[in-house]
Symmetry: C2
Subunit: 142 residues, 2 copies
């Protein structure tokens, strides 16, 4: 897949997650060794092979992932673009809406167009009184 802008690559990324489409998701990534992907509480994946494997596991475990996103910052300079967003998952049945997750998405322009080269998630602090399903107790310390 070739994308003319980093925004088009990002739209395709969240569309592929919503569809649970591994092939479409992986086609957005650069195919080199310099890519890296840090999903919540999963081992860091570096290089195209590990990134493909980590998404294969995540989609197999979770199915399609319908995330709403809230724009926080775009930084765009030359052949690099960085988007900091908040990702919000729907509430599990009978549970309150979980806290959002911060995501940094880094895109780079290659001869073939824009591709994702880095994705990092990190948890937000939970709101007061929130207990995630299956994991009551106080939040982990930094």
């Amino acid at each position: 897949m070739a994308f003319d802008t980093p925004e088009a690559a990002e739209d395709a990324y969240y569309d592929a997650l919503e569809a649970g489409d591994l092939d479409a998701l992986i086609a957005i990534w650069d195919t080199g060794d310099d890519v890296a992907c840090a999903l919540p509480m999963a081992p860091l994946a570096t290089g195209h092979g590990e990134v493909t494997a980590t998404w294969q596991k995540a989609l197999a475990a979770l199915g399609p992932i319908d995330l709403q996103t809230r724009h926080i910052r775009w930084i765009h300079a030359g052949d690099m673009a960085i988007h900091l967003v908040e990702e919000m998952a729907p509430a599990p049945p009978g549970h309150p809406v979980p806290p959002g997750i911060y995501a940094t998405n880094v895109y780079r322009r290659f001869d073939s167009g824009w591709h994702m080269v880095l994705h990092q998630n990190s948890p937000m602090p939970p709101p007061p009184g929130f207990s995630p399903p299956g994991a009551p107790g106080e939040p982990p310390r930094p």
Copy 2:
């Protein structure tokens, strides 16, 4: 502070943390509204004022922060440079070494030299059997 390379800015960043020197730390950041800083379990700070305030609180609460770093990926293109590192804090007395934390550091070249524009931390999965001090129980779900 002016830095000729993103590597020099990063060295100064970890030196300032180790010294607990807020002024030196803040001088590394760009002074604009597009900066953002996501520390573990802290509200996201956006813009120079919030980033200054979040570091002021963190240093007041924690004192000097002596992190060892392990290089994972540098991506450098034109006026942007991104470093993905593992940050390792020393073990608290009587406790095992805590799991490392992934950090993405984004630097941008301005007329005044290289400055930090984004810092994001995210926790690594704890090793089997690890219980952080004061927070026993299973790790939070993604």
